[in-house]
Amino acid sequence: MAIELQPLEQFTIERLVPLHIGRLDVSFTNSALLMTIAVVLITALMVLGTRKAALVPGRWQSVTEMAYEFVANMVDTNAGHGARDFFPFIFTLFMFILFSNLLGLIPYSFTITSHIIVTFALAAVVFIGVTIVGIVRHGFHFLRLFVPEGVPVALLVLLVPIELLSYCIRPFTLSIRLFANMLAGHTMLAIFGGFAASVGLFAIFPLGINVLLVGLELLVAVLQAYVFAILTCLYLRDALHLH
């Protein structure tokens, strides 16, 4: 192969503004820059979209309303009643993941969610928050979540550890799902790009595949944000209603 493939190079974190507090490295990186852009864009969409609120919405306002209603519907149907209190959190989560996924699709930008530490932090917040909500709402009864109903006592010895384990690996599956999708998609784009660069005249084939892949990635970016939010809703329902 003429060109050395480095498809993972796009995920390197660079220090844009080196900053150190003592021995702690708090540099402003490209990751932090993209996060800031995502937050600014979401805020702009929401604030400007609702600034001149009209009964018959304009283009901008209808996008805002569509996003709001989409998440509101999702929370209502999946998290059960009494979950509206947590709507702002889930809406924030959904918009942040959606915008960082979509921003990552812009060529030569950086995908925040392709780093497991970012997705794991999000998933850990969800996990810890949901557990605290469950304990506050139900106190000691929260442990009933791990005891399936209508099961013989002999089987419980087997089932309770399984339930406990499946509860504890939730933050890991939640974070790895998002991270793996983003990492795999973007690496695949880079690999086919590398093929296109190394085969000369036949580059049209890998390039065509790349065009299709960008379409798939667009779908995956929206879908993964949706999946992350809907799973958060389902976990929340477990904590609020215990099965």
Partner: protein, 75 residues
């Protein structure tokens, strides 16, 4: 066997995980087509679940794919 070829073989083995993703995605969409063909009115109700299932099934296969990528290109 030298390290480079062992890496290649390992990456190839890790990609077997994608078989499961293929079967899973096929299952999800065949079930979607089946149910919509039987009851076209149910499309709005079942389609979100189909896409949720698609994303979940795809993700499990991608775990293996990511392992392959890390074996091949990770340093």
């Amino acid at each position: 066997m030298d390290l480079a070829s062992a890496k290649m073989i390992g990456a190839g083995l890790a990609c077997i995980a994608l078989v499961g993703a293929g079967i899973g995605i096929g299952n999800v969409f065949s079930a979607l087509i089946n149910s919509v063909a039987r009851n076209p009115a149910s499309q709005g109700l079942v389609q979100p679940f189909a896409f949720l299932g698609f994303a979940l099934a795809e993700a499990t296969g991608l775990f293996g794919f990511v392992v392959a990528l890390i074996i091949l290109f990770g340093r």
